[in-house]
Structures are given as structure tokens and as C-alpha cells.
Symmetry: C2
DNA sequence: GTCTATAGAAGGATAGAC
DNA sequence: GTCTATCCTTCTATAGAC
């Protein structure tokens, strides 16, 4: 593959990523992507046979990023509190660089439920699960975290990080009207959310 | 307007609501809606000139429900803690009956940013704001809630309620694999989320 | 590999009969 | 008010020249 060829393919992929992230599969137009890449539609089909193929390539890359990036955190040898602080710090920073990613993922997983099975199959949940239980057994007792409340806690942590980006349009609209700065809010949130969770689970 | 006519219009509206909630504006097909209502496409256009008109009618109704239903809570004479408990109880129950609503709203507000301005304009934010400040002035001191942290707190409350429905596909998929029941999780969440928030803000 | 031109399918919208 | 038939635009995809 020549350098030039690689550049074109990459340009297409980047443009497709941007357009799909913004418009989703249903709303995106091949013409938009071509314009964005500074080429014509036919070339899109030359590199990625169909719109479906192109979308799929984009989705696989993006979905991978989202989930693989934070799984290793669980393995490392830190306290639960350290992990929570680290998660909010890194995850919110990640979403600041990729603010449209959560809505994009959610929409595609609704549109095409088969994807969820594939995503979940790639995660070795039982291993993550037992790692978590072994590493933090004493802390679970200390914080009064039970088998019953773990899903509540996990989804709460995810919610506090992801929701501001999903509802960005509403939140930033409201904040503007009330004299708050959305970016400052996001920066402050890295600490606020961690404090919030730790306070909530402390006996 | 005859009874029969009213029934047809209503049937169309209900079918449109269902299809738009599931597929969004971009993904929905007039043919789908017609099939769903047991009529043909031409009749859709007879009642609601265009797809845009039909979508708009559905959106206005739904967006109204979401925001008007919970604004009055702020006015009533209850403690902050009572309001928080009431909110989670009612809001999660509401979303159990309308699980697709959050994603639908978010998508449309992203697709058409003009809507946000309209939605916000309909809310008298300054009034809500001053009501909140007056009613809970002492509690804000007691709980150490400041002008700076109010948006953090408000968005956290919204997040804990709404996120499980937005990410339902992923969460219920994971839970199934791990032996949890998603509906039981939602039921338990009404209390869990309230306890969680109150614990987090208590000095 | 890249372009122009166009085929072909899908979907929104309308005409006209009943 | 409701239907069938059809128009027209939009969009994906391909053919064929360079």
C-alpha cells in the first residue's frame, strides 16, 4: 500500500468518524463524508464497499477505545478510593476529548442489539468480577458494599461521569442562561464526582 | 370532527409516537408508521402534511411531559431531603413507563439545537432559582451546598435517575450475564439513589 | 487510484378516483 | 376520509473513462 493510498484511506476514515459521530448511521450521508474528506463518493465505495462496511469500521475502532481503555484499572494494585478518583479523572478527561462518543455508542447499540452480545463476549466478565472481589474484599465490608449494591454503585459511577456529556446540549444551554461555564463545570466535576461517591459509600 | 376521524388521527399519533421513540426522526419511516396504524401513507399526509409536522407534534407532546411533570415539585413546601426522595421515586417510576424517552429527547436536541432555546425559554428559570434559594437557604448551609456546587448536585441527581435508562441496552446485557435482574435493579434504585445523594451531601 | 456520469432503490409527497 | 397509483427527490452504489 503506497503512502498516498494510506493517506486517502485514513482521510476517509477520519472524515467518516467525524460525520458518524455527529449524525449517527441513519443521519449520516456518504456525500457528507466525501465532501469532508475532499474526495468524491465513488472513492468511498472503492475503499469501503458499502456505507455499512464504513460505519462498521468506525464503530469497531471507537467501541474498542471506550471499553479497553479503562478495564486495566481494575487490575492494578490500588485502594478502592484511589481507583474511583483515578477513574473520574481519566474518564472525564477522555470524554472531554471525545464528547460525542457516549450518545453515538448508545444509539448504535439500540439500533443494532447484536452488537451488545459481541461487546460483552469480548470482555471476560467473570475474571474482572473475581479480581474485583478478591482485591477489595475488606473494603467492601468497610464501605458496606454488598453483592446487591455493586450494580447500583457501578452504574452510579458511570452515570456521574457520562451523563454530563450525553445531556450536554441541555445542561450547557441551562448553564449559559444561569451564568455558569460548562467547561469549568466539567473540570470541577473530576473532583466533585469522586468526593461525592466516596462520601456516599463511607459508613 | 367526527368520532371516526378523531380515532384515526389518534391512531396515527400513537403509532408515530411509538415509531419515532424507537427509531428517531432519521431512522423512522412513514411507511412504518402507516403500517403500525393499519392505514396507508397518503393518510398520514392528509392529517399531518409532512413527516416534519408529524414528528414535531410528537416531540412537543413528549418534551412537555418530561419537563412540566417535575417542575412543580420545587414549589411545594417540603424539606430538601423529602424532595430528593420524592424525585427519585416519581422520576424513575415515570421512566419505567417511558424508558425510551431520554434517548429520544437527547437525540432530537442534538439534531436540532433550536429546540433547546425554545424549551429553556418556556421555563422561568429565574423564578425556579429564587424559589429554590429562598426555600432551602438554611439547608444549603447545613449541607454545605454552595452556588458553585448546585449545578454539580443537580446534574448528579438527574444522572442517577436517567442514566440507567439511556444505557439500558448495555446495563441489562451485562446484568443478565452476571445473574442480576434489571427490573429489580430499577425498583431498588428509587431508594438507593436517594440514600446515595443524601449521604453524599450530609456534612 | 481517482474522477464523472448514471443506474437503481428507497422514501416522502401528491393526484385523482371512490 | 380513505385508497391506489405515481411522481420526484434523495441517496447508495456501480460503470467506465482517464
Amino acid at each position: 500500500m503506497s503512502e498516498n493510498e494510506r493517506q486517502t484511506e485514513e482521510k476517509i476514515f477520519e472524515s467518516a468518524t467525524e460525520v458518524f459521530l455527529k449524525k449517527g448511521m441513519d443521519g449520516a450521508r456518504m456525500q457528507d463524508i466525501a465532501n469532508h474528506a475532499g474526495i468524491n463518493k465513488a472513492l468511498l465505495h472503492y475503499y469501503y464497499r458499502t456505507k455499512d462496511h464504513l460505519f462498521n469500521a468506525v464503530f469497531e475502532k471507537i467501541a474498542g477505545q471506550m471499553f479497553k481503555k479503562f478495564a486495566p484499572v481494575l487490575d492494578e494494585n490500588h485502594s478502592l478510593e484511589e481507583k474511583i478518583r483515578f477513574f473520574f479523572q481519566e474518564h472525564i478527561s477522555f470524554l472531554q476529548r471525545n464528547p460525542r462518543l457516549p450518545v453515538f455508542l448508545i444509539n448504535e447499540l439500540n439500533r443494532n442489539p447484536e452488537r451488545i452480545k459481541k461487546l460483552i463476549k469480548n470482555l471476560d466478565i467473570n475474571k474482572l468480577w473475581s479480581t474485583l472481589e478478591k482485591q477489595h474484599k475488606e473494603e467492601f465490608v468497610k464501605y458496606n458494599i454488598t453483592k446487591e449494591t455493586i450494580p447500583q454503585l457501578m452504574t452510579s459511577i458511570a452515570a456521574l461521569s457520562v451523563f454530563p456529556f450525553m445531556a450536554k446540549a441541555v445542561i450547557s444551554g441551562l448553564m449559559e442562561k444561569m451564568g455558569y461555564d460548562f467547561n469549568a463545570y466539567l473540570e470541577a466535576r473530576k473532583k466533585f464526582a469522586a468526593d461525592f461517591v466516596i462520601k456516599a459509600i463511607t459508613k
